[in-house]
């Protein structure tokens, strides 16, 4: 059996999805259901004090009982902010300790700040969190984060929200070769083929948000992504045919031709 275990949890779907950027909560719920994801990321933000008590919230549409919430630290630019945010998230989610750490380098690229990320990871792991960590495709940093005790390494494929796909599959391959914890591509997937390529490389899963939410038809794209991740995983397990550069090989018999 093809088990997928993150920290202390076993998960069925290798597709993890974000909950941002949708038109409305109905679309969020429909797309996420279609995606088959079990783990959904959420951001932690100041409550809108004084708002209408009846105003719907994400939790009414994506039940925390049905889905595993994965609070992230999107928007944090220092280890300190990230740690505080995730401690609040743990309180908010009744002690839930599986979190996604990301510490960003600048607002223009949202590229991770590796030095701060390493700092935050050390603190959070000591503090009992199961840390899934967004990082660059630097294989030395990925190994260090694993050594610190992160339960999943989440390298970017390309910039958050860029949809550029996997820009450097070679670095990903080095990370995959060296990693004993799940490697989940986080950020940069733009369409279904990007997801398949990542899974064919041997990635354990994929986290995406914009690729679904910013498609013209997000619900149909969610369906495509579910199949893409499964297809890529199966192709990886099935073992692809070798590439042959210049010698074609006939699929039909080369004898018994009529003359």
């Amino acid at each position: 059996m093809d088990k997928f275990i993150i920290g202390s949890r076993e998960v069925k779907s290798r597709l993890l999805v974000g909950t941002g950027k949708y038109k409305d909560f109905n679309q969020t719920a429909e797309a996420i259901q279609m995606s088959g994801a079990e783990i959904v990321t959420v951001a932690i933000r100041r409550t809108n004090i004084g708002q209408n008590e009846q105003e719907p919230s994400l939790l009414d549409f994506i039940s925390p009982e049905e889905y595993t919430y994965l609070p992230n630290t999107a928007g944090c630019y220092s280890a300190d902010e990230a740690v505080r945010t995730l401690r609040l998230a743990r309180e908010l989610l009744d002690g839930h300790n599986l979190v996604k750490l990301e510490v960003l380098g600048d607002a223009e690229t949202l590229y991770p700040n590796i030095v701060e990320t390493i700092e935050a990871a050390k603190i959070l792991v000591k503090d009992g969190f199961e840390v899934m960590v967004y990082t660059s495709d630097d294989p030395i940093v990925a190994k260090k984060l694993e050594d610190i005790g992160c339960v999943s390494i989440m390298p970017l494929a390309s910039l958050i929200g860029s949809g550029m796909g996997i820009l450097n599959p070679w670095n990903l391959e080095i990370i995959l070769k060296n990693s004993k914890v799940p490697v989940i591509v986080d950020a940069g997937v733009g369409t279904a083929s990007d997801a398949v390529i990542a899974m064919e490389l041997g990635c354990d899963g994929i986290l995406m948000n914009t690729a679904i939410a910013a498609a013209k038809n997000p619900v149909l794209m969610a369906a495509a992504m579910k199949k893409a991740v499964e297809s890529g995983r199966e192709a990886y397990l099935a073992g692809r045919m070798p590439k042959k550069l210049y010698t074609a090989s006939a699929s039909s018999p080369t004898t018994g031709l009529i003359k």
Binding site: R45, S57, R87, L88
Partner: protein, 68 residues
């Protein structure tokens, strides 16, 4: 009494709002999922009734929203 919630100054009646549980109720958060930090330290929900409100307290009160 002056306090700051999520970056905004608030004046609260210290006779009505004695502790953090009172504060949370006044903000109509009781039935919502939230987490609260006072002066940089998290206050567990179970401890809210035991924590008095002090002049100048700074609160961050957060919830979960859509994000990726």
């Amino acid at each position: 009494m002056n306090i700051v919630i999520n970056g905004e100054l608030k004046v609260v009646d210290e006779n009505k709002i004695l502790n953090l549980q009172d504060l949370v109720e006044s903000l109509k958060l009781t039935n919502k999922r939230f987490a609260l930090e006072r002066n940089g330290e998290i206050v567990a929900k179970s401890q809210l009734p035991n924590e008095k409100l002090n002049e100048g307290d700074k609160f961050e009160i957060v919830g979960a929203v859509g994000g990726g």
